[in-house]
Symmetry: D2
Subunit: 243 residues, 4 copies
């Protein structure tokens, strides 16, 4: 059978140290929880890395062995070393898939890949979210029909200051009336980028079966089709390609 | 001063003959109402054409003199002559702007330009719609900040079976919880296409100041930058362009 | 192992009856030649259908059992029955992948999916084409690095009157100096569309190893991720999704 | 008459100090040359700023009074202060248009807006470039029909490591056989971005009438439609928009 998809689940792992509700929901950390549900799949081999590890657990060796990186961060975006963010960026543009979850909209890696501020509206009153499918049949939406509901979430509202997505595949409405482009894809270099809105440190959003399904599918979609491809700046002589 | 934008407001003018509520709201027809608010602008010269006229009021001469065509139809899409739809299409791809309003999603011209079925969900219970800006600063959204509200509308819900828009500039939420991509742009050939969701035969949606603002701006945005450009299929000899 | 990708290779099979050079290059028809190289792959099961068969070999049953349809036509586009083109269209928008090859740019199905005239320049002087990769790492370009060359081709030149592609992955230059967007992708409904320029009835373009590689990869890329998804127009009551 | 478009032409002005050929072609600097041809237009008021000025001539006041910024840099990208690049970025995403010329593909501002490395191939042998129109009728291409030729240029070749453009409006072929996406547009926040390949310090590319035409049109296209729009991250209470 085909090789498994090597997923590295990166977690900031900061709320996990200070927020009681997070500790209760995710005693081993959100990253471990995410890796665990991914590892129930036969075709995925998920490991974790966190901020506190040397090089944030994202050494050149780890990234070279990663097909898809998932990223969750919130209160410690600024603690991510610029050099490590740059290293992740270089792997993405040469082919590593990346899935940015929820508050990762403000991570160094996501804003760098977007080239925009990635601002948005937000509100934490445990309101209901309905995620509507706007690209049925998409690889990332297998098993999702028409819409799904998450009962209690932090709201994110437009204007979400991102570049026009290559594909907008999910749009949310919230009990309060706001809307949000909750599932968006882009290519950057040889790499695929997926932003997925759900996920929070004190609501049990990652427990949601459909949320798990989308993240799992997204790993399959974001997996590079071949080895890393590094773009270069070179100066070939006239007619070189005819030789 | 610059030449005025020559807008042709096309109306099916069918509800106007049979639906009491439409007659009450739009005694001279929706097309006339739309043309009238456009004509309050110094830079616009709007005229009307309707289904019942010879060639649906869309003769070659009328179209050749049209910068932007707005289209409203609902119950009589099938009565539009294929040859006239084809003529409109040829003008769009050679540069004429087109603005398709509300139920024009199912018009011959819109589905032909999209290449998709353009299906959607719908419901008529006079619910509230909030239209959220997803591309601030866009030419079509001048004067619109963040969002605007229409109190009573027919709901349109996703999945709206259109190709990925070049730009999604407005997304609606409805009181019932559905969402919809309510302002979408595409280019087809040399022409610009804008789909705008609001507008209905029995709710006074075209009375809404912001709806009028968006349609007015859209006429400015969709106006061709120059004369018609007709693409061709030709067979030039080797090196022709060096002569 | 996973199920094979079920590919239907559609051929107009018209030049094959009248053009000596075509008969020499493709004694069993271009469609058979294409199916044969696809069938060298373990994961593909390719069959053929041609214009002359009842319903052009594209019965509801055949299409229902097709993951990806490849289309080659040239001198008999007009002989394709509108109802069959419509049937193919319905399968594409509900998930069947379609790969349109070379002169299929003027086929009923391609122009219908595009919503534009699809005009282009052309010239038959057996000139050299270089196809440059503009999206390294793309699924369709696995095994292709930077560029590849076809020694003798019919030239196609811009302006190619298509909607802005979702992705432009190959751009050609020709000996004569023209350029062409030779590899373009779009989504239409739940289906994926790939246009690939190479392929001709009297040049041995389908013999080219890289051309075969791209078409083979494209079958993998265009394969639907799940069963057909049929978009509908329905009128749900208020709050239906909460039940 | 309408207010003029306020263009700031930014020049690195470094070759101008050390390269004899540049001094001969552009005795007052490329920036002055560009501003001069823009100022022949009734609707444009162009001024210049250069690297050596305090804050590179891009003070908050200058940028606040700029509708469109054009950028040319090459050997001194690294000398642009990060804080000034950031200030320019903030003006772009809040609505200021930006036109990046030629070697500005490697400028801090362009790579930041793209989110990709922007690598490309290059060669300086004074070869011929043909720029083919791939979006006839586009605002930026007014006065350009089908193609135009520049006799002696530095070649830029694919793969150009940029995100998929919103619109690819010009594609070049070079005498040597390479191709390049030479005219590309994107939106970032409320601002419009145009990349235009032509322009060089030792070939008289900016003397070319069509190059001047494209840059002039691009200023008109990139002009913001209204005042700056600054996206924010805020936390509105439930139902705030109903008040």
């Amino acid at each position: 059978m085909a090789d498994k998809i090597r997923v590295t689940v990166w977690g900031e792992n900061a709320h996990e140290k200070v927020t009681a509700e997070t500790q209760k929901l995710y005693p081993d950390g959100m990253h471990t929880y995410i890796a665990n549900f991914l590892n129930t799949q036969d075709d995925i081999d998920a490991r974790t890395s966190v901020l506190d590890e040397p090089e944030h657990g994202l050494t050149e060796e780890v990234l070279a062995g990663t097909d898809v990186l998932t990223w969750w961060g919130h209160i410690a975006h600024g603690d991510v070393d610029d050099a490590i963010a740059q290293r992740v960026y270089e792997h993405v543009v040469s082919g590593m898939g990346i899935i940015c979850l929820h508050s990762a909209h403000f991570s160094k890696i996501f804003t760098k890949l977007m080239g925009t501020p990635c601002n948005l509206k937000w509100r934490e009153v445990a309101e209901r979210e309905v995620l509507w499918v706007t690209r049925p049949g998409h690889e990332i939406l297998q098993g999702i029909e028409d819409h799904f509901i998450i009962d209690h979430v932090e709201m994110y509202g437009e204007f979400f200051d991102i570049p026009e997505p290559d594909e907008t595949i999910l749009i949310s409405s919230f009990e309060g009336g706001e809307v949000f482009r909750s599932g968006c894809t882009w290519r950057r270099g040889a790499g695929k980028v997926f932003y997925f809105r759900p996920g929070h440190e004190t609501y049990p959003v990652f427990y949601n079966e459909n949320v798990q399904k989308v993240i799992t599918n997204a790993c399959r979609w974001a997996k590079p089709a071949g080895p890393r491809v590094i773009s270069t700046c070179e100066s070939p002589e006239l007619g070189w390609f005819l030789k």
